[in-house]
Symmetry: C2
Subunit: 341 residues, 2 copies
Amino acid sequence: MLSDRYQMLFKNLMGLYLSDGKPVGSSTLSKLPEVSLSSATVRNVLADLEQMGLLHSPHTSAGRVPTDLGYRFFVDSLLTFQLPTLGHEHAIRQQLSTDLNQDRLLQETAKLLSGMTGMASVVMLPSKAQETLQQVDFLMLSPKRVLMVLVFSDQDVQNRVVELEQSISADQLHALANFLNAECLGLSLRHARAKLMATLARVEQEHQTAELALLQSADALLSQQASERRPLMVAGKTKLIDYEEFADSQKLRQLYHALQDEQALLELFDKTLQAPGLKVFIGSEFGDDVYQSCSLVARPYTMEGEVLGVLGVIGPSRMNYQKVVPQVDLTGKILSSLLKK
Amino acid sequence: MLSDRYQMLFKNLMGLYLSDGKPVGSSTLSKLPEVSLSSATVRNVLADLEQMGLLHSPHTSAGRVPTDLGYRFFVDSLLTFQLPTLGHEHAIRQQLSTDLNQDRLLQETAKLLSGMTGMASVVMLPSKAQETLQQVDFLMLSPKRVLMVLVFSDQDVQNRVVELEQSISADQLHALANFLNAECLGLSLRHARAKLMATLARVEQEHQTAELALLQSADALLSQQASERRPLMVAGKTKLIDYEEFADSQKLRQLYHALQDEQALLELFDKTLQAPGLKVFIGSEFGDDVYQSCSLVARPYTMEGEVLGVLGVIGPSRMNYQKVVPQVDLTGKILSSLLKK
DNA sequence: ATTTAGCACTCGAGGACAGTGACTGCTATT
DNA sequence: AATAGCAGTCACTGTCCTCGAGTGCTAAAT
């Protein structure tokens, strides 16, 4: 455990570094009103903190900079929050106006987070795998083209056009809809598909070729549905160019790439899912060098108490945690309160 | 009109500059095998070309660089194309696999363009305003929640959830669907809405409150539809960081911003719509300083002969026009061939 | 009358160099 | 234990200089 003085100095150093981004030296600290120590004393403390691995000197004649471990300690033990005002809360609710379907709502949330924080935001989408079918309907566009409408239990609606091999009558279509609504409701896409396969085999024996074709198409579509979805949504990537940390365009590019399609993030999100509550990941904790000097502030969101996914913000480790952490937290809370079955 | 020698030298200079990005000097040019002139002679020519406004010296002891006017001349008069191979064409068709709805198809096209060229791509979406309703259907989710499905003449399908003030019966819903399908098909959204308004007024007098509420909701939704759509789709923005032209992150940011929501582009696209065929816009021709040293290669795309929108690629003016122009052209052709009513 | 060779000139890039200032760690003193 | 003092380190900055690429101009050559 660190003595009060050590903590105090470390916290002040953090504050200065977060706001200026330049290495902080002993004399700068000793001049602070709340620090009534000579620079020499401060120096001794800083040397100790460096020994412990919380600080680091870019070079001998520069001040100190926090290490990833230093950030960790700061976030875990020293962070005091700067709560958003009620007006702020109201503004968030406003922007997440409620009459959107789930996907759009999550998209809006991503935009909002990125706008509020000036950094990139990430939203992990609920895994569709668990959603169940609530309603299926067909619409005849032309004798050989049928529109399939799938309503999921999360209120998401998706539709696909099926091109048929041969034409189908309105009655047949109706029958098919009835069949699906009778047999497949309450099943996940995967299960519904399995059931469809079984029926398919049966129908095939009975030589009902017209329905067979439609069923086959429906099957192909359901499978298409399942694979198509990206599990991650990223907004505001371009905001990151403003930070000196990412001035090297080479690095920035790699970071963008990683944000595009990467596993590393998903693993962190999984960790966040496991142990609910807000989590901060810092630099090396990402498990990938691309995220050097990045931090992620993440939090699960829920629907009626059940954890659905994770939302968060990615930016330079040198971010204003005091503001950002409550912002992410509040946004997660509000989103959770807006999500209804 | 420029003499052959002037043209030849200018073209060679362009070639060198496009591939290296460094100012080209007289001696470099005179050493080229196809140039059998001394550097002194070349210098005289270059001085003349600079006089005419086609070239520019960054400083006294540097070589020459084309001006926007120079690019213009090059593109209009000197450009020879490097036709994509048949294999290439096949690859494009492959990626634009056909069973997508229109919006997704355009999205794929944008991705494809950006991937092929390594630059940002822009697709101007067909103005929905002209599309007509082809089919309307309702699905009852619960007594107070109704899903509205709109099928447009361009095969696009959109759906919205209507939250009702009071519950509605299946019969009423059916009647409403019939009414809309009878009255509003073949009308644009705007016209359909106008018709709805008229009916609304009549129904109001007859005090059919249940239908009234639904109609009102439907109206609100139709209007929502109309405004919601972004006219422009941009893909691959982040590819631009790789070009030295955009190394200044300040400028890059502004460019991103402009690409986000800007009018300037739409105006250029309008010009492209007017006079069909491929067009190239260079730097100052954008009419906005943000696009300094950018070029846009754009081309309309059609559906069954009728111009729908414009697609294109944005990158540094110093791009490989010989490759990019045919790529954009071919993609536009293929897209047009894939779009069917 | 072109074309070319030659020459003086310009200017940016890059290296060497010294001075400055912001630090540090250590040691001796309070 | 805290501090003052001091020597040392190192990035940063500005100056000076050289180098080289490239120019424009003029006079000679074709």
